[in-house]
């Protein structure tokens, strides 16, 4: 276990969530934050909206979608890690939006969920295509920063540091931290002298 798998390309079908400012409370209502497990969170993604009426996450045509398309400021609001966790566990592997909540995008990166931004006009034609042809395949290429769909291609962007983390497989902090156990042991041994750990109580 010395590194997380690189993510260079995400392929799949997409579903579209309409509206600006879809916050993390809508993605994962706060009552599900109190559980002691992320397991099963996929069932509660957008739960309140899904109960209010027909929703793309319940549409059998989108049941195998792995890419989510959204409008502006997707994932704004509270920093809950449950929102990306729920989406990832549902099967979402990438999100395309015009912009993202800052912490949400960072939390997504930490679990290998790709967030890329698209210009408004491009996002509009992409979401229209996805609604018209639900099973149209989409491809996000992080190497070339392009989104390809049904013959059309769009430039997409993400912060360069984040792009590198996906490409070289360093998006998973724990893999990085586990890579050099001997170096950790050296610091452990050295620091015990002046700050003895509490040990077994």
């Amino acid at each position: 276990m010395t590194g997380s798998p690189p993510i260079r390309v995400v392929r799949g079908t997409a579903l579209f969530i309409a509206g600006d400012d879809v916050d993390t409370d809508q993605i994962m209502p706060s009552r599900f934050l109190r559980s002691t497990s992320f397991t099963g969170l996929e069932q509660h993604v957008f739960e309140d909206l899904r109960q209010a009426g027909p929703h793309p996450f319940d549409d059998p045509l989108h049941a195998s979608a792995s890419i989510l398309i959204a409008e502006r400021n997707f994932g704004c609001g509270s920093s809950r890690e449950h929102a990306p966790q729920g989406l990832a566990r549902w099967g979402i592997r990438a999100i395309i939006a015009e912009s993202f909540g800052e912490i949400f995008a960072a939390n997504c990166t930490a679990i290998g969920l790709v967030c890329v931004t698209l210009a408004r006009a491009d996002r509009q034609s992409l979401s229209k295509a996805c609604v018209d042809v639900p099973d149209a395949p989409l491809c996000i290429d992080l190497r070339r920063q392009r989104v390809e769909a049904a013959g059309a291609g769009f430039a997409c962007t993400l912060p360069e540091g984040r792009r590198q983390q996906f490409l070289d497989g360093s998006w998973d902090s724990l893999s990085l931290l586990m890579a050099d156990p001997a170096a950790v042991e050296e610091v452990d041994a050295r620091t015990r002298v002046f700050a003895p750990p509490p040990g077994v109580l």
Binding site: M1, R34, T36, S37, F38, T39, S79, E81, Q85, N107, A110, I111, S170, S173, L174, L176, L177, M178, D180, A183, V184, E186, V187, D188, T191, V193, F194, A195, P196, P197, P198, G199, V200, L201
Partner: protein, 474 residues
């Protein structure tokens, strides 16, 4: 080469390696684990087939979800009970030291770890709770972390971190009578704004900080995070060493001299270069009270509630909204604002010195809690609770009309059975006045020092404790 601030010295001493340019793997000496932010982290370990790397550098206990009346575990809500028992099971499974609330070993981690002598100068510490900055009082670097970082520390005893900038805040002069570390903290947050510390470690220094005892320094560092700083710390000195000496987990008599000699080297160099330096006059600080829903929205107790238009333009909209939520009228004095609940406790102000001064003032004045006010004292740990009892301070507090509870986070966070109801107004010695923080979505929080909470409790409304308790100094 310019000298280094203590922040850099400790950071450099704990770097395992530079993983990516500017991103370091930082070793964590001590990891405090609570029941709220850890279950998913343990679950992630299991998913990856990993174990806890250094169980002896880990301490687990439940603080957020315990009940402060009756059985700390079983008198919680079903969900609280689940959280606590999950932590107990995870601790057992990974052979982690677990302080068991059912055996009365519990307390708020930020109260408990220092009082047992677990926190020492030069250490790095992490905990899945924002107010971990508290431990900086010992000249340690202490970070509040999120659940995925809790996982990282459990599995690797380290964190991925960037270096912070360092701001030295030198507090000159003297705090007046009736003015406490909490007032200084709120004053500073008002000056710098709740985001003023973002990207910084705050080094608290100067004669006022040097004169503070360890518990006051903890209050100051605890609130650093409310000013946006990632951590706050004080350079260790004789006050630090004498606090530590003889405590359960502090170095033994045999190791003491060696450790203390090393700790004495943990100072910022005189020629250290800081990213920012701020000097503050403590004589100007007066008891503070918040009027809004962010900890930087406060006034001195003798001031009126501000008109939003008197604030900087970027703060006006938030102030209008906060005042509407709080139901407070700009231009009116903050003194006289009626309260329903008085809460003295939390990791900010739930230590023995906080409760002792309250007991002393109540005893001396003979004043009683106003009939309409529900007044709670919640000690930060079971040990503080026992100390209250040993010194018969619990009787003094109870005679004055306070209900003295068992240890826990209690009303600080609304994640346990202690919660505000409806639009109740709570004078609180805790650290956050966010909407809904104390459990009721419409509940309202006024942050202040423990002594100011006591003054509000006996007056039934916000009051200047210096007048109520005739604390005019010698």
């Amino acid at each position: 080469m310019a000298g280094r601030a203590l922040y850099e010295k400790i950071f450099d001493s704990r770097v395992v390696r530079e993983v990516l340019p500017g991103r370091y793997q930082l070793f964590v000496d001590l990891h405090l684990v609570n029941e709220v932010s850890s279950p998913q982290a343990f679950e992630a370990l299991q998913e990856r087939g990993l174990d806890v790397r250094f169980p002896d550098r880990t301490i687990a206990t439940a603080d957020h979800a315990v009940a402060t009346r009756g059985n700390p575990v079983l008198d919680g809500s079903p969900e609280n009970i689940r959280q606590v028992l999950k932590l107990r099971d995870n601790a057992r499974k990974h052979a982690l030291p677990y302080l068991d609330p059912e055996r009365g070993e519990h307390g708020i981690l930020h109260v408990l770890a220092p009082e047992r002598g677990m926190v020492m100068p030069g250490m790095t510490l992490a905990c899945g709770d924002s107010h971990s900055s508290t431990h900086g009082a010992f000249g340690a670097l202490a970070f509040g972390i999120g659940t995925s970082q809790v996982r990282d520390v459990l599995a690797s005893q380290s964190l991925l971190m960037e270096k912070l900038r360092v701001r030295r805040i030198s507090v000159e002069g003297r705090l007046g009578p009736g003015v406490y570390a909490k007032d200084l903290a709120l004053h500073l947050i008002r000056l710098l704004g709740s985001k003023g510390g973002v990207g910084f470690a705050h080094e608290f220094a100067g004669p006022v900080v040097e004169a503070m005892d360890m518990e006051a320094r903890m209050t100051l560092c605890n609130m650093a995070v409310e000013g946006g700083a990632r951590c706050g710390y004080v350079e260790p000195d004789d006050v630090t060493f004498s606090y530590l000496k003889g405590r359960e987990h502090a170095p033994s008599a045999r190791a003491w001299n060696r450790c203390q000699a090393y700790w004495r080297t943990l100072r910022s160099d005189p020629d250290a270069e800081y990213d920012d330096i701020l000097s503050l006059d403590a004589d100007a600080v007066r008891p503070c009270v918040t009027w809004g829903t962010s900890p930087d929205q406060s006034v001195a107790v003798d001031q009126p509630i501000p008109h939003p238009r008197s604030l900087p333009p970027d703060q006006q909209a938030a102030a209008v909204e906060a005042l509407a939520f709080m139901g407070l009228e700009p231009g009116r004095p903050i003194v006289g604002t009626p309260i329903d609940v008085a809460f003295i406790g939390s990791c900010t102000n739930g230590r023995i010195s906080d409760l002792e001064v309250v007991a002393r003032l109540l005893n001396r004045s003979g004043m009683k809690v106003a009939p309409a006010v529900k007044a709670l004292i919640v000690p930060g740990s079971r040990a503080v609770r026992q100390e209250l009892h040993r010194r018969q301070l619990d009787t003094v507090l109870e005679n004055a009309g306070f209900e003295v509870r068992d240890a826990g986070c209690s009303l600080c966070c609304g994640m346990n059975v202690d919660q505000l109801v409806g639009r109740e107004v709570c004078a609180s010695s805790s650290n956050r006045n966010f909407k809904g923080r104390q459990g009721s979505p419409t509940g309202r929080t006024l942050l202040m020092s423990p002594v100011m909470v006591a003054a509000a409790a006996v007056s039934g409304a916000v009051a200047d404790a210096r007048e109520v308790f005739e604390e005019h100094g010698a």
